[in-house]
């Protein structure tokens, strides 16, 4: 009986012991320009493809659940006319341009994408610059925050 109990204990503990030897793989999505610039171009491209696909999936869900005259429908129409038309190559190139300025590297990547898309849609430069300045401040605060 003791032997069986000991065997059961070893059987239960063995995976935990072996799992402790190999560290769990960990990859985090880039948060801002500093982390973005550490990626290789292939990683940037695949991340951009995943981001675009996730964005499109979210828009599809909104499209199903919202009515034709709801604010969500307006948002979808605006989003699909901008985000939906940018390829992964263009998104990577746009972020590379955006983060080519060192002051922008603290800006979160989501804000950078929105600013880039507004730039691509022909938004006036004054508004774009205001958004960039605000995003820099928020990014700086976020980077200081632990």
């Amino acid at each position: 009986m003791k032997t069986i109990a000991l065997g059961l204990v070893l059987f239960v503990l063995a995976p935990a012991v072996f799992a402790a030897d190999a560290p769990a793989p960990q990859i985090n999505a880039p948060k801002n320009g500093n982390e973005w610039l550490k990626l290789s171009t292939a990683e940037k491209l695949y991340w951009a493809l995943g981001y675009a696909q996730g964005y499109a999936e979210a828009l599809d869900k909104l499209d199903v659940t919202s009515g034709p005259t709801s604010p969500c429908a307006t948002f979808i129409e605006k989003s699909t006319s901008s985000e939906g038309k940018v390829t992964g190559f263009e998104l990577v190139s746009g972020l590379e341009r955006f983060y080519a300025e060192p002051a922008n590297t603290v800006i979160p990547i989501g804000s950078a994408i929105r600013i880039f898309l507004l730039q691509a849609s022909g938004k006036d430069q004054v508004t774009i610059q205001e958004l960039i300045d605000t995003a820099r401040v928020l990014g700086q605060q976020a980077s200081v925050r632990p």
């Binding site: 746009g94 590379e96 341009r97 080519a100 060192p102 610059q129 960039i132």
Partner: protein, 328 residues
């Protein structure tokens, strides 16, 4: 009258003591203020180099340095391929990747480039191969630092001056029509002191002596105090002394207390005197009344004629009568 005299004495005493204290405080001089001397430490910022700007992914500083050095006739040939490729990548909507033409030019220009860039190649769904600009820039930067200048034209389309001012372009799709629309470049805050510094390798290669180092003195936040400023002018003002303010408040409080503690019957008597002055009737000698005054039974001659006014003091009797309740 005694209380008023006492209040005046207290006021004078406190004022005199406060003045004496402030004068005593000024007798101790402050330490002398030394003017700013020329021997203070100054921060000398080292001008960034092309390699530093490229390594930091700072295109604006890199381009500014490159153009400045080129205008001054310094050799920037080693960095020309990097500059061309970087500028082209920022002026193209898909500038993070380049195609076969640029790849072949680079492979012809640099030995070992094909082997270096091969693992980074990206093949799209149609089977077309693209190569990343970012990794290529790293390669070109390493070669530029080594001083390996290539005479090959990297970019197939060198951007003109008009596109260089607005390098960012993006295709905008609206109603199915694709067009190219220039977008102003993101504004980059360049460093305050961008001073060109030639690369030692490039300078040694061309044989031109390097220019003398330019010291960029950062602005310091120190305030220069002239030596002619008198010390007394920098001393603290006496009326800002806390002791003086406390004494002043004490004086005011004592004065207010003395006013409040005055005998209210004196006001009544004063009013009666004022009202009696205008009448020809004989004036009785003024006596201080210890008890309350019965205004109804007052035998004052002026109490029955509130409407009579004298030209010299037309409203005083009327006002005093109202205030003191004599009209009732």
């Amino acid at each position: 009258m005694r209380s008023r005299t006492l209040a005046v004495v207290i006021c004078c005493t406190t004022l005199f003591s406060a003045t004496a204290l402030s004068v005593k405080g000024q007798q101790e001089p402050l330490p002398p203020v030394k003017p700013k001397t020329a021997g203070e430490p100054r921060v000398i910022l080292a001008p960034p180099s092309l390699a530093d700007a490229a390594a930091k992914n700072d295109y604006v500083s890199f381009a500014a340095l490159y153009n400045d050095m080129k205008q001054h006739g310094q050799s920037v040939d080693a960095y020309a391929p990097l500059y061309d490729l970087w500028t082209w990548s920022l002026s193209n909507p898909t500038g993070a990747f380049y195609g076969n033409d640029t790849y072949e030019r680079l492979a012809r220009a640099y030995n070992g480039f094909a082997g270096y860039i091969a693992p980074y190649a990206i093949i799209d769904s149609a089977g077309n191969t693209f190569w990343p600009t970012s990794e290529t820039r790293d390669f070109l930067l390493a070669r530029a630092i080594e001083g390996d200048a290539s005479s090959v034209v990297i970019a197939a389309e060198t951007p003109s001056e008009s596109t260089a001012s607005a390098p960012v372009q993006a295709r905008v799709s609206r109603n199915g029509i694709r067009r190219t629309k220039p977008i102003s470049a993101p504004r980059v805050v360049a460093p305050a002191a961008v001073v060109p510094q030639p690369k030692p390798v490039a300078a040694a290669k061309t044989g031109t002596p390097p220019p003398p180092p330019i010291e960029t003195v950062a602005e310091t936040a120190t305030v220069e105090v002239p030596a002619a400023v008198p010390v007394a002018a920098l001393q603290k003002k006496p009326w800002t002394n806390g002791v003086f303010m406390l004494l002043l408040l004490a004086v005011l409080g004592v004065g207010l207390f003395a006013i409040l503690m005055r005998n209210p019957n004196e006001n009544t008597l004063t009013a009666r005197i004022i009202a009696t002055e205008k009448l020809p009737a004989p004036v009785e000698p003024i006596r201080k009344v210890s008890g309350p005054i019965d205004t109804r039974a007052s035998g004052s001659p002026g109490s029955g004629e509130p409407q009579q006014h004298s030209p010299s003091a037309p409203d005083r009797s009327h006002r005093d009568g109202d205030v003191l309740g004599l009209r009732r």
